[in-house]
């Protein structure tokens, strides 16, 4: 297990899961690819399918319609994987906490390893969150 985690630190393939978000966090994540932040120089690449992913970046409250999909994506991702809850909605439900479509914040559906709060968290905050986690792995 340790060996795999060490391997994880080299180059991260990230898969983005959005389940009932307002898209702001999603756009800040896409912003990470753009020239200003450009995370590709750190080897962080967006994967096309959860089967290639090391990290799941999840945004949004988990909508009742999305619950099965989120679980399925988690099952498909090879373990060990890191689940990152990006944004206030994924961390705790945010402002939509009391709604009738809320199937619970992300950690009720799948295990979460990193929480990055903010509405939306700035791209710098997302990078800082991931880097902090990588340091913890040491």
């Amino acid at each position: 297990m340790d060996l795999k985690l060490k391997a994880l630190k080299k180059s991260l393939w990230v898969y983005h899961v959005s389940s009932g978000s307002c898209n702001n966090c999603d756009i800040e994540i896409l912003d990470l690819l753009t020239p200003r932040f450009d995370v590709e120089r750190f080897g962080i690449i967006l994967a096309g399918s959860p089967r290639h992913a090391d990290v799941l970046l999840c945004t949004g409250i988990v909508n009742k319609k999305c619950v099965e999909r989120v679980k399925e994506v988690y099952e498909q991702t090879p373990k060990p994987c890191v689940v990152v809850a990006v944004g206030a909605c994924a961390c705790s439900g945010g402002i939509f906490r009391d709604g009738y479509q809320m199937a619970g914040p992300l950690d009720k559906i799948i295990p979460v390893h990193v929480y990055i709060p903010g509405c939306p968290p700035k791209p710098e905050a997302i990078i800082a969150g991931i880097v902090k986690f990588l340091k913890e792995l040491k």
Binding site: S18, C25, C66, F96
Partner: protein, 407 residues
């Protein structure tokens, strides 16, 4: 100071859920014969939540309906409550609402340009558009403290003022962005490959626009001259000079042109509004104690079209009913008229032409009509779209000049 290096991204990027599909297209060979849209993946029960929050809290709630048009909903909501209670906001607040609304239009259109470029295979355009969009987000941060979800609006006015010392920096950034968009517009209008690719595709007639109640650039590209800022003017839009952009053909090319040209009008509005508040002092918010019983309707011309809010009050401190209609709700159904009969390789860009809220475009799947089997996923559709662009480049024998103009 501009970064001369061209960054070519490696790797696919469809950073959205693979399934469930939003759009289901049924096809016969390469032609689309029917389409259906499945919704609900983003439904968060906001209208019901509204009823449990008091009037000022709802402003924060509606901001989070959509991240791209974050301030459109608060503006429309505040217009609705101000309509209900008959409140007239102070003049300085009107200009500040102008500025925030138009800056949002700029950032949204640039975002769209980037995505459209990506769907057509011009990934440089994606990187480039989003890079210059950062300049606008910096302006937002300077004025409001956040890149998105600005929390600037309040019933009766705005919450924060713009300082005089910030105005020269804002104007300078605007000037730079104007230059860049100018470059892009010229490149798009001249490019023979884009013309071959986008003209005549996804045409919506005036009749289609009427039947679906479509609004915004989608309607204006088909020659229907509607714009809430002129027709039912609010904030400071009737205090500044600008014009509504319309074109005649209603195809995807026209939709792109309308959006690009609108950016210039937005810049004009922002500059005039900044000049109007510079060096002056004034109230930015009227104190509102109570919302009386009644009903009100407010609207705003968001980057995608008319946002409509209806509120009803019974005199208490919460809304009894809050109905929200985003422009994509009336724009997306037009796919019934614009996609049927078109080929699969064009579907991507036709749907993007309507500029649905970003998450919606990504979930498309194509089914064979007889076998009812899924044939193509969204990545496949984007690939097909890019392949078509390459084919056209070969046929016309021309290199797209877009690359050269942007470098």
């Amino acid at each position: 100071m501009a970064n001369k290096k061209v960054i070519v991204p490696i790797g696919p990027y469809h950073p959205l859920l693979e399934e469930p599909e939003y759009f289901q297209l049924y096809c016969d060979g390469e032609k689309v014969i029917d389409a259906e849209w499945i919704a609900g993946y983003n439904h968060r029960g906001i209208e019901k939540l509204s009823e449990s929050k008091h009037w000022d809290q709802v402003t924060f709630l509606v901001e989070r309906i959509c991240g791209i048009c974050s301030t459109s909903h608060p503006i429309a909501y505040c217009n609705a409550v101000e309509d209900l209670a008959g409140i007239e906001i102070p003049e300085r607040a009107k200009y500040i609402r102008n500025i925030i609304g138009e800056l949002e239009r700029l950032h949204s259109h640039l975002l769209w340009v980037g995505l459209a470029g990506h769907f057509l295979g011009y990934n440089t355009v994606f990187m480039w558009a989003w890079k210059y969009r950062e300049g606008i987000l910096d302006m937002f941060e300077m004025i409001t403290g956040n890149r998105n979800h600005y929390a600037m609006l309040k019933i009766g006015g705005v919450r924060r003022d713009i300082e005089d010392e910030d105005i020269p920096v804002l104007k300078k950034t605007l000037e730079e962005i104007r230059g860049k968009i100018q470059m892009l517009t010229e490149a798009v209008l001249d490019d023979p490959v884009l013309a071959a690719r986008l003209k005549g595709i996804g045409v919506l007639t005036k009749e289609d626009i009427k039947n679906y109640g479509a609004v915004g650039p989608v309607a204006r590209a088909s020659g229907v001259d509607i714009d809430v800022r002129k027709d039912d003017s609010y904030a400071g839009y009737n205090l500044v000079e600008w014009k509504v952009i319309t074109t005649e053909n209603g195809d995807v090319f026209d939709k792109a042109v309308v959006r690009l040209l609108e950016c210039f009008e937005s810049i004009k509005i922002i500059e005039q509004s900044l000049d109007a508040i510079k060096g002056k002092k004034g109230e930015i918010c009227k104190e509102v104690r109570e919302i009386p019983e009644g009903e009100g309707i407010g609207r705003h011309e968001a980057p995608r079209g008319e946002v409509f809010h209806y509120v009803r009050s019974d005199g208490s401190n919460r809304p009894v009913r809050h109905k929200i209609r985003a422009p994509s709700y009336v724009n997306i159904p037009t796919f019934k008229a614009s996609c049927i009969g078109e080929t699969i390789s064009d579907v991507c860009i036709i749907l993007a032409g309507v500029d649905p809220c970003y998450c919606c475009t990504e979930r498309i799947a194509v089914y064979d009509k007889d076998k009812n089997k899924k044939m193509y996923s969204f990545e496949d559709l984007v690939k097909k779209s890019i392949e078509k662009t390459e084919e056209i480049k070969k046929e016309t024998g021309e290199e797209s000049k877009l690359w050269k103009k942007l470098l």
